[in-house]
Amino acid sequence: MSYSSEEFLICVIARLLDDPVVRHVAVGAASPIPGCAALLARELSSGRVRASIIHGNANNPFTDGGRELFDCAGQGRIDVFFLGGAQIDGEANINLVGTGDYPDVKRRFPGSFGSAFMYFVVPKVILFRPEHSRRVFVPKVDFVSAPGVSEPGVTRPGGPKALLTELCLMSFDATARRFRLNSVHPGHTLEEVRDNTGFDFEVPDNVSETPEPESDRLEMLRSRIAGEIGKTYPAFASRVFDEAAA
């Protein structure tokens, strides 16, 4: 069964969500791929997994204003959240603010959003950054919007667990302060990952290939999730799923 790169990434994320400790997946604004994965995880779990999409009113359960997502996460009611980064370094520090010597930035990005809080309180933060380049994966971020690890004594039930890009899937070991390569996506190589990553990471003896999407999940995506995500991201839904269905 052929599939798009979006469908591939959705299915990789859905596997990360297939975990009994995951009860509630929240997805921030402008994140259609994680949003599809959260809805797929809900479908696969027959509704056991709750999926909250914080972008418009569809699949958004919050009624107490912008603060409720953060209060909910602070209470430990959110198990998975997604963050990105204009820059991400080898210790999983993320930069959403700008390049250069802050505040005299060379290039300004939108800002840290809620990352400086969510990275601390959500147990399983998935870093999702499709662009895999040395521009993004730098030796050291220019500005720490949110640190990957914290000193002992800092209250931190949450943190980064995985990093998914267009080339590979990595996991993060907070004790070793290091990423570990889990698998390389079909059609790509370890060399390609190394060439496009500006920091050192652990490589297992045998690097596996990221599995392709399961055909039953692709069918579920196209039949049931497409319409559901379309309530939040109509342009994304028609681009990705109408073409897949055609």
Binding site: R67, R108, G111, F113, F143, V144
Partner: protein, 275 residues
């Protein structure tokens, strides 16, 4: 509340240099009032995005109305980066006070409660703290060995502004589930609201609307402004005009393009011309 000011009269009541709280793109952004602020040539505003800024913040910055922006982020969302904001920060033309979403909510909640500061979890080790000399990190005073915790000073906006579908004759304003507007109004010294319509119904008399209504107690003035969120959307009333927002994003990539956009909208932006 007996008489309703015009948009221009409302804009005239927002002083130069005021700290104004503006809601995020998904929450009742008063674009018509923002245009009226630009038209009146507002200067030196300290714009607080609650907690993320969009087109309103970008236009206020571009038109020379804002000296300071405090936000967790400023972006046009799917239409891309906020071009005038980005240019102004990169060229040091405004002071950017970087924050993070729950810090802005929490600092407003401190004002809501009338306390001088509030603690917030997380954030320790973020460079956001390193560049905020008004924030403090202390050892948890309630629990020995509890670790460091961030304290945020209360934010008390001079003015909160937003646009709602309706207000009643007494000045009670319906906000639905957009309860950050409630927090903004509770925290602010004054709240100016524009609405699609004034209803003859008493919003507090009906249990179905009372719970989603900001009482007139917190509302300083209401002005009617049909389609007051456009080109942004107003949930349940009209969708965001993606094409119009896209045209703005394109035009505002340059100073000249932005100026032409304002002229086309009938705004001469005195703030900008004075530069």
């Amino acid at each position: 509340m007996s008489s309703h000011p015009s948009l221009g009269e409302l804009a005239a009541q927002i002083d130069d240099g005021a700290l104004i709280a503006v809601p995020p793109e998904y929450s009742f952004v008063p674009m018509a009032l923002v245009r009226a602020l630009i038209a009146r040539g507002a200067r030196d505003l300290h714009v607080l995005a609650v907690p993320i800024g969009g087109m309103a913040v970008d236009m206020l910055v571009g038109a020379g109305c804002a000296a300071v922006v405090e936000a967790a982020a400023v972006s046009l969302g799917e239409a891309g980066p906020a071009p005038r904001f980005t240019e102004a920060v990169e060229n040091g033309r405004i002071t950017m006070r970087d924050s993070t979403c729950p810090a802005i909510h929490t600092a407003l909640q401190a004002s809501e409660k009338g306390v001088p500061f509030m603690p917030l979890g997380g954030v320790i080790g973020s460079d956001v703290i390193a560049h905020r000399d008004d924030w403090r990190v202390i050892d948890d005073p309630m629990q020995k060995g509890g670790g460091p915790i961030l304290l945020l000073p209360a934010i008390k906006p001079d003015v909160a502004i937003f646009h709602s579908p309706m207000a009643d004759r007494d000045g009670n304003v319906w906000i639905g589930r957009r309860r950050e507007l409630m927090t903004m109004a509770h925290a602010a010294k004054q709240t100016f609201v524009t609405v699609e319509q004034i209803t003859d119904d008493d919003l507090l008399a009906d249990e179905d609307t009372a719970g989603s209504t900001l009482p007139a107690l917190y509302v300083s003035a209401v002005a009617e402004a049909r389609e007051g969120c456009k080109p942004l959307g107003l949930t349940g009333h009209y969708e965001a005009d993606r094409a119009a927002i896209g045209s703005y994003a394109e035009a505002a990539r340059t100073e000249e393009g932005f100026r032409a956009y304002l002229e086309q909208a009938g705004l001469d932006a005195p703030g900008m011309a004075a530069e």
